[in-house]
Symmetry: C4
Subunit: 275 residues, 4 copies
């Protein structure tokens, strides 16, 4: 629950700051987290609104002010984080340290490189900071079960994705030959993009087969896509059922200490000791 062990225990002002900023067990720590959550959400809404041409035309200066306000706030927070941890460099190079830096950098850079509209979009990465706050919530346990299920499914999902990719490459090349440039399939990569659009049942319709053989091949691809969606679903169902089952029983053997016993087990399956 506590991040203290990560950055090492600290004392005095730094220790107090660390408790507020990095932990959520004290009222001040919890208030800081809630405040941060709202600041992140509002700043992202501001970034989004700024990207809408009509809103930027009318409220451009207001949004600029809001942006600098949040950038100032996040800069202050970043400096306080650097100050409150015992190993600032280790924090700065951690995943969340980089995300924290990316949350403020684009605004400063936009002064140096004017017109760098695309830089500003990086600021939506602030959203990732929400996970820093949420990692202390009760949803974590559920996320853990989901992750366990997905991790256990990884080899099967790799096989599945490999099969899908093979189908996409071969079907894409086939459609490039059959339909050709005049129907929008003007290169194998583009035909592969079409094959992905089709096999995932997205079906934008920006490129569509026009010839009879092309429509026949497309039909086969669609039925394949419609059918093989069953495979990852089945995989995750089975692994999730296993993850849920295992989550229920977490008894450790009193003799050998090993876990992973079934719910109906009366004896340790590793050493035979009674549970």
């Amino acid at each position: 629950m506590s991040n203290a062990s990560e950055q090492g225990p600290t004392e005095g002002l730094r220790g107090r700051l660390h408790e507020i900023i990095f932990e959520a067990e004290t009222p001040a720590g919890r208030a800081f987290d809630v405040g941060l959550l709202w600041a992140i959400l509002f700043s992202i809404i501001a970034v989004m609104l700024e990207s809408v041409a009509s809103v930027r035309a009318q409220y451009g200066s207001l949004l600029l002010g809001v942006e600098w306000f949040f950038t100032g706030l996040f800069t202050l927070e970043y400096l306080l984080r650097l100050f409150s941890v015992s190993k600032p460099l280790r924090y700065a190079r951690s995943f969340f340290g980089l995300v924290d830096l990316l949350a403020i950098l684009p605004t400063f850079l936009s002064v140096l490189i004017p017109g760098a509209q695309s830089l500003l979009a990086i600021r939506v990465l602030r959203l990732l900071r929400v996970f820093r706050v949420l990692k202390l919530s009760h949803l974590l346990g559920q996320a853990e079960v989901l992750l366990t299920a997905l991790r256990a499914s990884r080899p099967k999902i790799t096989v599945f994705l490999g099969t899908v990719l093979t189908i996409v490459v071969i079907m894409g090349a086939l459609m490039y030959v059959v339909e050709g440039q005049e129907n929008g399939f003007d290169s194998i990569p583009r035909a592969m993009y079409w094959a992905i659009v089709t096999v995932t049942t997205v079906g934008f319709g920006d490129i569509t087969p026009k010839t009879a053989p092309g429509q026949f091949i497309a039909s086969i691809l669609m039925v394949m896509g419609y059918g093989i969606i069953a495979v990852p679903t089945g995989i995750v169902s089975v692994e999730l059922a296993a993850a849920t089952r295992h989550a229920v029983d977490n008894r450790a053997c009193p003799a050998c200490g090993q876990q992973g016993h079934d719910l109906d087990a009366h004896f340790c399956k590793h050493c035979g000791h009674g549970l």
Copy 2:
């Protein structure tokens, strides 16, 4: 089964009315429910037909008459409901009380504010009144199992929806930068709309990536959308299996104490003792 306890038992005419209008155990009550069901369905069909320009042009006055007929009917019903319950205000402020009011209000308001076409569409909310009638049906048990499964899945589904939303925000901002205004991605919210269209495999095709990097990112998003649909499906399958299992039985055999008997079992399947 009876709603009487909700509004309190009443006597005489009010009691009789309450029995007919709110309950379904007497022949009169059941007849009232069936009649109401048909009235709701016909009035909604009339609202739908009225919205079709060609039908309105030809049968406009007939539909207006039908509309006022049903409004009169539902107004009478609403007044009778108010009269027959012991606490009319409590009924009026309940969910179904508000739905009952919304079913008649738009027609009356359309006289005061002529041309308020959009007001009339509110009348399709009458459809919600169907659930008032159906709540006494045999489908309720099944709906209960489904709801139990969905309620148990809620934390997992929250985590899942949060992940999808994060993907949508970040992918939307990325596509806004990569594709830009000239390809239809003219703001982050619109690019997010596109990302939702894509990740859910709907794929309208009103906005599509035109550049090679845009199509590459879109391909990744599509495969993600195609794959992560497996997660809610797996979640609901597992929870539904649990909800169904619990609905089945939890009797233990009085002789050997083992559980897991079917609902229709009269004897223990392990030792043959009567349950």
Copy 3:
């Protein structure tokens, strides 16, 4: 396995014909079934090819000949079926009797009503005759398991479809008001068609929301559609698991004769007798 009991046992020529036409246990009966299967498939391919303008222009007279050949064949078969059963009227009014008649009627009617192109399309219903032949195949058991699962899921699927329909009606009316006639949502039924296209994740893109609020509502509808597909999938998975489990054990109790015992049952759960 035998249909004889259905139409009653017959003797002599009629009995022999019945055996060949309706049953599949003799070599002649099996040969008849296989021949019929090919005749059905070829006649349907001919109907399909005839509908293609360019093929009709070139091979029109050949296809007409093929059509009359198959019509003659199926007419002969129909008359033989009528002759070989003991109750011809009962056969003629049965489901497959009507399908057999519909397989030949359109061709004869096309002589009386020339140019009735649409009549000819009815002939694809000949495809249903395939099921008459296949009903004796080894796939029947599998179809039975699937049907048992779907039948057991029916109340849950009814609740599910009712919910989807309610969402479609209310979302359709909402989009009719929000987007309006100028964006293609020109009536509530059309807006409902759009809502079905969206919630089922088909996403044709023939009608799409153009306004920001419309795209926001559409996003919610898409996420709903993406999520609630999990519900029928979960339902069918659970019921199919149950149907498969029950299909495995089909022991009847020696004492009371009742079935439906679990695989691990040693005693009848109905009467307690040892299995």
Copy 4:
């Protein structure tokens, strides 16, 4: 693990070559496999890039050189394979032997038949050669479980696909009659293509119903497609659960005889006896 038994043991240079080319247990054999994997991937990327008009215009001669380099490499490899096996003809006629030949043939043929662009696309079949290398990897076990599940589901999936095909044929013919040529449904095969696009929820939108009855039928088809996706998913889930379970264990306890132990169990979980 070893392919030696397939082609028979060989000695001297041939035996050494066989070990390197066909097996992966020696460091040289593993290095050969990794090198081959990279050669396949790079040659496929080259084929893809060559199909892009703008890349071909600029780097055409470079890509031609790359192509001939890889063709030379694969030709050398093919000859070495032919030399190192004891029965070259048997190898040449095997599936992977043909794939190996198809990987080099198109480039040579492109000299004889100039401009045969489509021939070059055949070279993406080189991708299939990846599976030759990967068949020794740890993913094989997972693929085996998936294949077992799919094989067990085959009769059910046949029934399912047959039902989908019947729906597609009948709905296609119906839409051909209802919508007709003027709305893009200009033949039954094209209308069937549309029905597949719709029932699989792909929804390109290249052909869409324009009339009210057509949109109504399309709505039914979409809801069917949305619902029946649950069937293959349920089938695969159930079979995958069974395949996973069987992969786990079928040891019985020598003391109490009960089964259902985990793969890593050394002692019976019911009585504690060593397994």
